[in-house]
């Protein structure tokens, strides 16, 4: 019985991974002339989505407990704005600002987590208030777009390239261009690995799964459900702040409309990656592939060039629909077996 449960969950993950490769290879076949086959194309997907990967890792943990955190997009906008204004107007040093942002993330997560865990308010409402608050605060801090130009450390971090010694392609001028990644990708991958290990091997990680599986049994087992939930929301906001820094390193600016709707990208990536919103089932590796699928879709639409960008949304929605229905069918099969 237990074996079949694990295999059906693994099957979802497998479908996600296979789908990613199929989509990517199809892209390589159709858009080979537009540089889709180059290694750099894949690296660009990683670079563009480094922030989203961090956010989705946090979102996966929250969703595993059966909750949701829709404040992440606005929090990223607030982080970027604080970074931009902090550097350009307040003239803080960027390392201090980054620490400040991480601290804000923890405090933000603590307040949300406290309302959800100890005051028993629905996560959706609390984080919706967080969404409003962070988005409004972004405008309170500064109404116009602020670009980051003056800080040397931040610019250096943003421009830092890590080149691979292989997989290069010769460009039109006959120069060998090696594929590269930015420092944000390294951060994102470290986050994914750390969260994977945490969920798999630590007491905290196992409690998250236990709470999502059945909150009552978790309480009866002697787990401190409230504390674990609080910590999970703090973790989510903390990872979002890391994602915010990655995002800012990519855009080098703060605007009030930045990262609108990013929360839904994160949720859909996690769902496509096999995380159930009811909690208890999911894997951060699946979420990583969910983000990559999302990234591949927009890369495909971009490579086509003629399609309107809203096609990316439509395809993501269709995929989301497909995976949701698949999940529900698996759940029904599991129920009928009982």
């Amino acid at each position: 019985m237990k074996k079949s449960k694990i295999s059906s969950n693994n099957l979802l993950l497998l479908i996600t991974i296979v789908l990613f490769f199929v989509m990517y290879l199809a892209g390589c076949g159709v858009y080979a002339g537009k540089g889709f086959t180059k290694v750099q194309n894949f690296m660009n997907i990683l670079i563009n989505n480094a922030g989203l990967i961090c956010v989705t890792a946090g979102m996966t943990c929250v969703m595993l407990t059966g909750g949701i955190d829709i404040s992440v997009g606005s929090l990223i906008a607030m982080d970027c704005m604080i970074l931009a204004v902090g550097i350009e107007r307040w003239h803080w040093s960027s390392p201090a600002l980054m620490l400040f942002i991480l601290a804000i993330g923890i405090v933000f997560g603590f307040i949300q987590g406290f309302c959800i865990a100890y005051l028993d308010i629905q996560p959706f409402i609390v984080t919706m208030a967080g969404l409003f608050f962070a988005r409004g605060m972004t405008a309170v801090i500064c109404k116009e777009q602020v670009s980051i130009v003056s800080d040397k450390i931040f610019t250096a971090l943003s421009n830092f390239k890590i080149q691979f010694p292989f997989g290069g392609a010769v460009n039109k001028k006959g120069v060998l261009v090696l594929p590269y990644i930015r420092i944000t990708v390294i951060v994102a991958l470290i986050v994914v690995v750390a969260i994977y290990l945490m969920l798999k091997y630590t007491k905290f990680g196992r409690s998250i799964y236990a709470i999502g599986g059945n909150q009552q049994s978790a309480t009866l087992m002697g787990l401190d459900v409230k504390k674990t939930k609080l910590k999970t929301y703090m973790l989510s906001s903390f990872l979002t702040s890391i994602g915010g820094i990655c995002f800012c390193l990519n855009t080098m600016a703060g605007t009030t409309t930045q990262a609108t709707g990013l929360e839904m990208d994160a949720i859909s990536s996690a769902v496509i990656g096999g995380t159930l919103l009811t909690g208890g089932v999911g894997n951060v590796i699946g979420s990583l592939f969910g983000v990559l699928i999302n990234g591949t879709i927009s890369a495909l639409v971009k490579a086509n060039g003629k399609l309107i960008s809203s096609w990316a949304n439509i395809v993501t929605a269709i995929l989301l629909c497909f995976f949701i229905i698949l999940q529900s069918i698996f759940a029904k099969i599991k129920e009928s077996k009982k």
């Binding site: 949701i68 309302c115 100890y118 005051l119 028993d120 308010i121 629905q122 959706f124 409402i125 609390v126 919706m128 208030a129 967080g130 969404l131 409003f132 608050f133 988005r135 409004g136 605060m137 972004t138 405008a139 309170v140 109404k143 009030t256 839904m264 949720i267 859909s268 769902v271 919103l277 009811t278 309107i308 809203s310 096609w311 949304n313 439509i314 993501t316 929605a317 269709i318 989301l320 629909c321 949701i324 229905i325 999940q327 529900s328 759940a331 029904k332």
Partner: protein
């Protein structure tokens, strides 16, 4: 003391209390500015139409009020929220203006098809959206938020596709009428009033409201009692889709164009907020439509007040967030229990003294 307690326990206490609070803030602001103290309530006739802040609140709040009807039913029956309504509003704009202007035309001053075809076409599409959401929630047992996430993402995108990613203007007076004035009264107020009246009549004179509540309180028990739970949930989502279409109709006519990127943006949040503000539990079950409607207008009153206070539209969400948190914390069970303990201790201390 006891009468005060009775008052605070009334179901409509919270929405009406917050409405009065907002009005009080307006009055205090007017006094502080040296205006007439009751400026907020003054209604005059300017250029042949009603004019005043109260009218403005009623006018601008129409969309939220219409959405709140559908959202209340959905929350009650399925214990979840329909987050696709804003996106579906924008889809209505896309469909309606595409039909009226003809595909590919950006700026027209005469209809390609009759007005009624456009409106009914748009409403049909949004009703189908509701049906789609409802099927996923009721028959596939998917959590409402995830199921509606699909159309949240796709609705606006399809609307953009239909309009070829452009803003389609329909400059015909009869189209603008729905967002303008009928006689001296703004038409959106009339549309909202009709929707509310129909909903109230249906809930009052049929057993639908009771069915919805019983399904929301216990789905399994209702099924055993003989209701088709799934069908009732499906019906609430269809109604919600229709309401989103009607709200879209008002929003589109107001600006006589299909600005698909902006119509209904974040409107789902306002709709959910008005349900919560109306004293309804977001966990489903019992609902109070009057509360939601008052909640909807309260939200609009808050927004209008903030603008009057000189807060920009981008900064306004901060205050909205604080309001939301205050309301839900006051309603939270652990907080109530804590306050009860505190008052009990105080009376004990008094008795001891």
């Amino acid at each position: 003391m006891s009468s005060l307690k009775k008052l605070t326990q009334k179901r409509l206490f919270l929405p009406i209390f917050s409405m009065i609070l907002v009005m009080l803030i307006n009055v205090i602001y007017d006094i502080a500015c040296g205006n007439m103290p009751l400026q907020f309530f003054v209604i005059t006739i300017k250029n042949g139409v009603l004019y005043g802040r109260l009218i403005d609140v009623l006018n601008r709040g129409s969309e939220i009020a219409i959405l709140a009807i559908g959202m209340t039913l959905v929350v009650s029956s399925s214990a979840g929220t329909d987050i696709s309504v804003g996106s579906v509003m924008s889809l209505y704009a896309g469909v309606c203006c595409m039909i009226l202007a003809g595909y590919g035309n950006v700026n027209v001053s005469s209809y390609a098809h009759p007005l009624l075809v456009g409106i009914l076409g748009g409403l049909a599409v949004t009703t189908i959206c509701g049906l789609f959401n409802g099927l996923l929630v009721a028959y596939l047992n998917i959590q409402p938020m995830v199921a509606t996430l699909i159309l949240w993402s796709a609705g606006r995108a399809i609307g953009l596709l239909l309009c070829n990613s452009q803003i389609v203007y329909v400059r015909v007076p009869s189209f603008q009428k729905l967002g303008a004035y009928t006689g001296i009264i703004p038409t959106p107020i009339i549309v909202a009033a009709i929707c509310i009246a129909i909903a109230a009549c249906v809930l009052k004179f049929t057993a639908l409201g009771t069915y919805i509540q019983s399904v929301g309180i216990n789905k399994k028990a209702s099924r055993i009692a003989g209701f088709n739970s799934a069908k009732i949930i499906l019906l609430t989502y269809i109604i919600c889709g229709l309401c989103a279409g009607l709200a879209g109709m008002v929003a589109t006519s107001r600006i006589y164009s299909a600005d698909t990127n902006n119509i209904g943006l974040n409107m789902e949040m306002d709709a959910i907020l008005s349900v919560a503000l109306g004293g309804n539990s977001l966990g489903g079950g019992k609902f109070n439509l009057a509360g939601s409607i008052i909640g909807a207008y309260t939200i609009q009153a808050i927004t209008t007040t903030l603008y009057a206070l000189g807060v920009s539209s981008a900064q306004a969400p901060v205050f909205k967030a604080i309001v939301v948190i205050l309301i839900v914390v006051i309603q939270a069970e652990p907080f109530k229990a804590y306050m009860k303990k505190l008052t009990a201790k105080r009376t004990q201390a008094k008795e001891a003294a």
